[in-house]
């Protein structure tokens, strides 16, 4: 890190003024891809959100902020927005809390470590839809493995729990599954951070008689700051955008009781055929993601200067 940030200005100074034009053949294809795949759809999205759109999908001219007005007049939006915040915060914080000790564990040398690391990647490598469907089967009311086991243990006195349909439980189940699929990535980011900690600092502390807890609190944890920041921000984006878990397990129901802003946008467009406000919500969601990305850029820049 240090060497790169020191070198950048030097290289820049040596470059001729038309360096960007010279670089175009190399970065051109990538730029074109970004424009086609990211910029153009974003512009289209904003344009359509300002257009009147019928449920048949025909566009009927400029509509000003009409779609946004309809969206913000929706009586259910507030509860869904609050739930989205709870969803993101609880999934991200639980994920980090569980991943910290896990990363510590798989950083140790023990027989079978390779297997444990491999097994930890599986939920990450598997398609989220597949994972969700397997959980759906496990949590089924009458034939799910979960309820059957609880029953055999005598813990359910004849009243199986309807994990996914009972609004008292379903949101927590969704949070847990989202945590479950976020842990591998987070753990490996933290593991990478742990492995980049110079060995001599740790050894020096140990020679000075620091306990392992003191080493962790005083040296390892502060040096994990960068990895934790990156893990947190990437998880924020992932969890906010998370669609398949909720859709595969509850479809955001009953009513909108387990919807987030993402599933709500989809539900409005493709279940309720309410295209206008859905495009407006698409823009709101996009703006939210952009905000997190900006914070991310700010934070990574800040840490780079500091280190």
């Amino acid at each position: 890190m240090t060497s790169i940030s020191l070198d950048v200005p030097k290289i820049k100074n040596r470059r001729p003024a038309n360096s960007i034009i010279n670089a175009l053949p190399w970065i051109g294809p990538a730029l074109l891809l970004i424009v086609l795949v990211v910029v153009w759809p974003a512009i289209e999205l904003i344009r359509i959100s300002l257009t009147k759109i019928t449920s048949a999908g025909t566009l009927e001219g400029f509509n000003g902020l009409g779609n946004y007005r309809l969206l913000f007049e929706n009586p259910d939006l507030k509860a869904i927005a609050i739930r989205t915040v709870i969803w993101v915060l609880s999934v991200v914080s639980l994920t980090i809390l569980i991943s910290l000790p896990l990363a510590q564990l798989i950083n140790q040398n023990f027989p079978g470590r390779k297997f444990v690391r491999w097994a930890m990647i599986v939920p990450w490598a598997a398609s989220v839809v597949m994972t969700s469907i397997i959980w759906k089967w496990m949590l089924d009311l009458t034939s799910g493995e979960f309820n059957l086991t609880l029953q055999q243990l005598g813990l359910q006195n004849g009243q199986p729990v309807d994990w996914l349909r009972d609004p008292r439980y379903s949101f927590f189940v969704l949070v847990w599954i989202a945590v479950f699929v976020s842990i591998p990535f987070t753990t490996f980011v933290i593991l990478a951070g742990l492995q980049s900690i110079p060995h001599d600092i740790v050894e020096a502390a140990q020679v000075d008689g620091a306990s392992s807890w003191q080493v962790y609190r005083g040296i390892k944890f502060p040096l994990l700051r960068n990895s934790l920041l990156i893990a947190t921000i990437i998880n924020l984006i992932n969890v906010f955008n998370s669609f398949p878990i909720i859709w595969a397990l509850t479809r955001g129901g009953p009513g909108y009781d387990t919807d987030t802003m993402i599933t709500f946008a989809y539900k409005m467009a493709f279940v309720e055929y309410n295209m206008g406000p859905s495009t407006a919500l698409g823009v709101v969601n996009f703006a939210f993601i952009m905000l997190i990305v900006l914070i991310y850029l700010r934070v990574t820049k800040a840490t780079r200067v500091q280190v």
């Binding site: 990211v38 759809p41 974003a42 289209e44 048949a56 025909t58 609004p167 129901g253 009781d257 055929y273």
Partner: protein, 411 residues
Amino acid sequence: MKKIGLRRLSAIAAVSLSATVLSVMPAQAETTIKVLTPNYTDAMPAYYADLNKRFEAANPGIKVEHTNLSWDDILVKGRTLVATDSTPDILNLNTFSDYAAAGLLYKADDLFDAKTLSDFVPAFIDNSKYDGVAYAVPDLASARMFFYNKKILYTSGVNKVPTTWDEVTAAAKKIKAKYPNVYPIALPLGSEEAQAEFAIWTGGNKGRYFNNKKKKWVINSKANVETMNYLTSLVKAGLTQPNPASTNRTDAFKLFSQGKVGMINASVFFPSTLKDYKSKVDYGVAPFPHSAKGKSITLGVQDYFMAFKKPGNEAAVKAWLNFLFQPTNYAGFLKAAGGFIPATKSASSAVDSSLLPFIEQLPNAIFYPGDLAAWPKVSGSIQTQIGNGVNKDPKSVLNKIQKVAVAAGTK
């Protein structure tokens, strides 16, 4: 999600653009039509492959590009086709009215001659009209009836199949007393088919979604609130499966097939579903129970074939649709679709005897207001929200949907 959606849309747009360029280039005389259909069963793709092969042989110069989709996919795709300029030439779907309202469809008169048109069951063609003009034709229909598990009912001391709401409650109580682990009545108000489940119950209490005479939405009518209160009383008494608002029809069908449900409202194709599930349940079929002030109804539901106006495709879509509705081809369609009610009079005379009780119910059929352009939107809101009527305040849930419906209009 929106972002990904648009990315995908642009990909689809790019692919379809190059596809049209490619298909236009080789031979000017050739017309290609795109046909998009849902899989009623897994037998549909094979049926269409054979049909299209014979069609192309009989109609040189017309090529058919056929896409088979699951119902889940086609319901989503149906909303993006027009906006992404990937409109098919022929579409088979459960709604048509908003396309008709947007002026995208051929009139049925332009597609079929009078003789063929007069063969469609009049009630079904009436439901295919927007603003008094038929813009689609029915492909098949379903009716629904009350199914019961004979063994559960009879061994619980219920000697007569319930015909009124009071009798349903009484029978459910007896079942619950005898079989504590059976759900006496299934009430699937989850988003999959909530609009149908509620229409059936409230139909027997003279409740409707739309008042055809006064041309206005009546979703929060007194009759509908009464129905919701009755359903809530069943739920509160523990006579239904838990959490009706998140139970989909498929979930309820599965419970019934496992012998865990006493009574259920189901469709004409339910017997073949039970066969697919390898269910051993011995079931009976009866008309729907009704309230003291109402009478028994059935819910008629139909799907549609429609053709989109595109320059130069009229002759080709006409040829394809008429080919499909030739008696032998249409019989094959019905067979592949599995257990539905035919949409033509000529095919109705040759149906399987198991369909007869359903066809007998058709004179009492109520239909969705599928001829209104607003219906797809209103139906969507009913599907996602009406189930919460049994969890929350019935009146305010119905008021909320009524508001959506009024805003969607009555055209």
